[in-house]
């Protein structure tokens, strides 16, 4: 009997909590309902979501329509993505899937609701599409998925290393193997460097506990370190800075967040702008009736990126910020 | 007298705990003992006399430091506990220890019935066995034969000790080891369990070693008695001489050896 009571108690607690929460999310009669599934709270992903909302809201306002956003965060539990996607797959007008596992879960939950991905690097591998060419700007998935890719202009970033440090003989590539897309970025940069006759070596760690040991070795063996767009590196940029700066080894980062933590300079895409771009696509689908399967996956071009430098680290290392670079935060 | 073979032999067994530390304790010292087939040996001794260590080295709970142990003629000195189980039936002091509480009475018996055999993917309990278990349980006179699918954890301490005793002897062991198996029971229950012990040992002519705190029991049961102190045997009596023993005699022995001990301690 006690057990029944306890179960009932626990169930009541859950329902009570749920009902009090539902009270806060007011019932809506919006023209469109958009589900946003974000993998984890993270400055880059947050910026993309924000850009998406702002852009879509603006287009909706202009068209005199209303939109309701249902934002769900999977707390980095990939298993939670499926449950959230299961909700969005029914009765929603559009889904924004922010980060690779979020997109995968959504794409595996519905073949009818249009899905837009963002903060996804390679759509071919994320969706298992063998015929999709990530480097073709006009490539469409052919299924109910499109979106934007956060693939950085890697060749330009690699060239940046050569421009800023012409006498560098060896570039250390520091990244996390447990990140979806770091391996690809590092391979591309290494290839570019090799073409230009500069040696590079990979220094990979598997989680945040290994970072300091790996970073120390990278710092002692390299003239310059390159870090791609890598979430684990981003979360631990202060740790990396604490190793590389005293060693006097400059870091070129794949994006602004890492650069502000431990980098000297970056050619960074803006996740907010990436979100804005995705929001525009969403408006095209909802308001203009465009078909998601026929919309090419969009990328950020070099022109949309900004050359940035970290003033504090540059000064410490005695590096003069190059022409045309903006200090981060200005 | 006909030739009897030794079922348990300990030759020069030594066991010291915490060797080399301030807590060093010599539990068994150059310990020799031979128990013949069919003998019922009772073991008494004060706390720290080495009774438990003696039992545990026979079972294989502790490895010995030196010496050899033979069970039914096999050298088991290096065998792990579970492999010696083939030769041993054991009943523990703690009624909780001898049975598997979440398993049915008949499942416990079936486990015991397979002691010393390789456990295969054949059914854990067979229909024919159930009948056999039922008749065996009926001998306990506790009505357990009607409750064969009840979990052993629901039995009382006395019931569990009786069940454990049955489990220990279901397959005739070379040696039955009883480690103060009635100490945790109330006197009436203890007497019952002890009576059943004697009955089952006599019936199957089991070679038995029973450690006990109760001197009257030690005198009354069995045909040989040893008294232990300081990891050695200080008194070994059997046959007619044992039958005529009284508790007073044993207490006298205790005092004498204790006195001898303290004399020695003073002299050294």
């Amino acid at each position: 009997m006690k057990r029944i009571k306890s179960i009932a108690l626990a169930a009541c607690m859950l329902t009570a909590g749920a009902i009090s929460a539902v009270g806060l999310s007011a019932c809506s009669t919006a023209d469109y309902t958009v589900g946003i599934l974000q993998l984890v709270e993270h400055s880059a992903l947050d910026a993309a979501t924000e850009g998406f909302r702002d852009a879509l809201q603006a287009r909706m306002d202009a068209a005199g329509k209303t939109v309701k956003f249902d934002y769900q965060n999977a707390q980095n539990e990939t298993a939670a993505c499926s449950t959230i996607a299961n909700k969005f797959a029914r009765g929603y007008d559009l889904i924004l899937a922010n980060a690779t596992p979020a997109l995968q879960a959504c794409a595996n939950s519905t073949t009818s609701v249009p899905i837009l991905g963002t903060s996804v690097t390679l759509y071919s591998s994320a969706l298992g599409l063998k015929d999709f060419d990530d480097n073709d700007p006009a490539a469409t998935t052919g299924i109910n998925v499109s979106g934007t890719s956060d693939l950085a202009p890697l060749a330009d970033q690699a060239q940046m290393i050569l421009d800023l440090f012409p006498e560098a003989e060896k570039v250390g590539l520091l990244y996390c193997t447990a990140e979806s897309n770091s391996d690809y970025q590092v391979a591309q940069v290494a290839e570019y460097l090799a073409e230009k006759g500069v040696a590079s070596e990979r220094y990979s760690f598997t989680d945040s506990n290994d970072i300091s040991a790996v970073a120390m070795r990278a710092a002692s063996e390299s003239d310059v370190i390159y870090i791609p767009t890598d979430n684990t590196a981003a979360s631990n940029s202060a740790l990396i800075d604490g190793i590389c700066r005293p060693a006097g080894v400059p870091v070129i980062a794949g994006e602004e967040g890492i650069c502000s933590g431990c980098g000297v300079a970056t050619l960074s895409i803006s996740y907010y702008n990436l979100g804005v771009k995705t929001g525009g696509m969403a408006a095209d689908i909802l308001l203009d009736g465009k078909k998601v399967s026929e919309m090419p996956v969009q990328k950020i071009t070099k022109e949309e990126c900004s050359y940035l430098y970290n003033a504090e680290i540059c000064e410490d290392l005695g590096i003069t910020p190059p022409q045309g670079y903006k200090a981060i935060g200005e | 007298m006909c030739e009897k073979r030794p079922m348990l032999e300990l030759k020069g067994v030594g066991k010291t705990f915490n060797r080399g530390s301030v807590n060093e304790k010599v539990a068994l010292k150059d310990f020799d003992l031979t128990v013949e087939e069919g003998e019922f040996l009772t073991v008494i001794g004060g706390n720290g006399a080495g009774k438990s260590t003696f039992m545990n080295v026979v079972c294989g709970t502790y490895p010995v430091d030196e010496g050899k142990i033979f069970l039914g003629g096999h050298d088991v000195t290096r065998l792990p506990e579970y492999r010696r189980a083939k030769y041993l039936g054991r009943v523990f002091q703690d009624p909780m220890m001898g049975t598997s509480p979440d398993m049915e009475i008949q499942e416990n018996l079936a486990l015991a019935y397979r002691r010393g055999k390789v456990r295969s993917l054949m059914p854990g309990i067979r229909k024919a066995e159930k009948e056999f278990f039922r008749t065996q349980l009926a001998r306990l006179g506790l009505g357990l034969e009607e409750r064969m699918t009840v979990k052993a954890g629901l039995l009382s301490g006395g019931q569990r000790q009786s069940l454990t005793l049955l489990m220990a002897t279901l397959k005739k062991p070379d040696l039955l080891l009883l480690d103060e198996h009635t100490a945790a029971l109330d006197p009436k229950t203890a007497a019952k369990v002890l009576a059943f012990t004697e009955e089952i040992a006599a019936e199957n002519k089991l070679t038995t070693v029973m450690v006990t705190h109760n001197m009257a029991d030690a005198i009354r049961c069995g045909n040989r008695l040893i008294m232990m102190q300081e990891g050695r045997i200080i008194y070994d009596v059997s046959g007619e001489e044992k039958k005529s023993l009284t508790v007073e005699d044993l207490l006298e022995r205790f005092r004498a050896s204790a006195g001898e001990l303290s004399d020695r301690m003073i002299l050294s």
Binding site: A18, S182 | R119
Partner: protein, 327 residues
């Protein structure tokens, strides 16, 4: 209404995690071994299955391989514990760490797509109803196999090992070996659940095992609490565990449908687990207190009729049913 249409998806996911929870049940309840290997082995199963399926191997072969990989993970934990004398929880954590690296090496990357649109998988969230049927078949067959196995001589020995290792050794049971076998079976099932999960959600990810043990324990505990009232048959209890997984995911789906703050989800599930874990402990305290009071009121009577009935009722008999709270 939206919730009802989302039910099939929740039930399918619940069945997958229910299968995983059956694996947890074997270690946690049968073997009395708090095994944390599962956070790693679920991903190992998923990774092996994903790699083989994307390489064009038949999906059933891939699932079999995942099963074996999980068994190997269990073997490792078992060896750490029995041959190297490392405490149970630490053994599991060590294997979990090893598996993080192993899983990365298996996949060669952190994330691998096994989209149902490209590969011939058995189940997918795209067809949740169909998935439920297949998963129901899986769970039924596995419960049947486990019911048979734990009734064999070997299986009984494993149950005894978890229940009373002292008695088991005295009955000639190789406790260490049995623990290893139990861990292998458990992790094989967990890995199979991982292989099914990967197909269902359409991708394998290095992080997919995160928090798996909590979901598994939640399912075990909810299931035990429900089914113990009705029936104590082993197969029914296993079915109860699968049901626990389904209930967990229906509640989870409900929480998400209602738009509750997902930031709180982890805390909520952990709290629910904590409450259910506390029930046997509270029960024990309540009951033993009750007994003491009652005993104090009555005069110290001589042993009741029949000698060995109520007099020696061991105090630990009751909590053994409810699960040890030493985790």
């Amino acid at each position: 209404m939206g919730f009802l249409s989302a039910l099939p998806g929740a039930i399918a996911l619940g069945l997958i995690w229910g299968l995983m929870a059956i694996g947890v049940y074997i270690t946690y309840k049968v073997l009395d071994f708090a095994d944390l290997t599962v956070d790693g082995s679920i991903c190992t199963g998923g990774a092996v299955c994903a790699v083989l399926v994307t390489a064009g191997v038949n999906v059933w072969v891939a699932m079999l391989a995942a099963l074996l990989a999980g068994a190997a993970a269990g073997l490792l934990t078992g060896v750490f514990h029995t041959l190297m004398g490392i405490p149970a929880i630490l053994s599991g954590i060590l294997t979990q760490l090893i598996l993080w690296s192993v899983n990365l090496k298996i996949m060669g990357q952190a994330n691998l797509s096994v989209s149902a649109r490209t590969y011939g998988v058995v189940i997918s969230q795209l067809e949740a109803g169909w998935a439920i049927l297949i998963l129901f078949g899986f769970v039924s067959v596995i419960i049947g196999l486990l019911y048979w196995f734990f009734g064999t001589e070997l299986g009984c020995g494993i149950r005894a090992t978890g229940n009373n290792p002292n008695m088991s050794r005295a009955q000639g049971i190789n406790v260490g070996l049995n623990k290893i076998i139990g861990l292998m079976i458990s992790n094989a099932l967990v890995a199979l659940a991982g292989a099914l999960l990967v197909q269902y959600q359409g991708f394998a990810d290095i992080n997919m095992g995160r928090g798996a043990i909590v979901i598994g324990l939640a399912a075990v505990i909810i299931g035990e609490a429900l089914v113990n009232l009705i029936c104590r048959n082993f197969a029914v209890r296993l079915a109860g565990v699968a049901l626990g997984g389904i209930i967990y995911y229906i509640v989870y789906q409900l929480v998400i449908e209602l738009g509750m703050d997902t930031d709180l989800l982890k805390m909520l599930s952990a709290l629910v687990v904590a409450i259910f874990l506390a029930i046997p402990y509270w029960k024990k305290r309540y009951f033993s207190g009750f007994h003491r009071k009652k005993a104090a009121k009555e005069p110290p009577a001589p042993p009741p009729e029949g000698g060995e009935t109520a007099a020696q009722e061991p105090p630990a008999a009751a909590p053994l049913q409810g699960g040890q709270s030493d985790v």
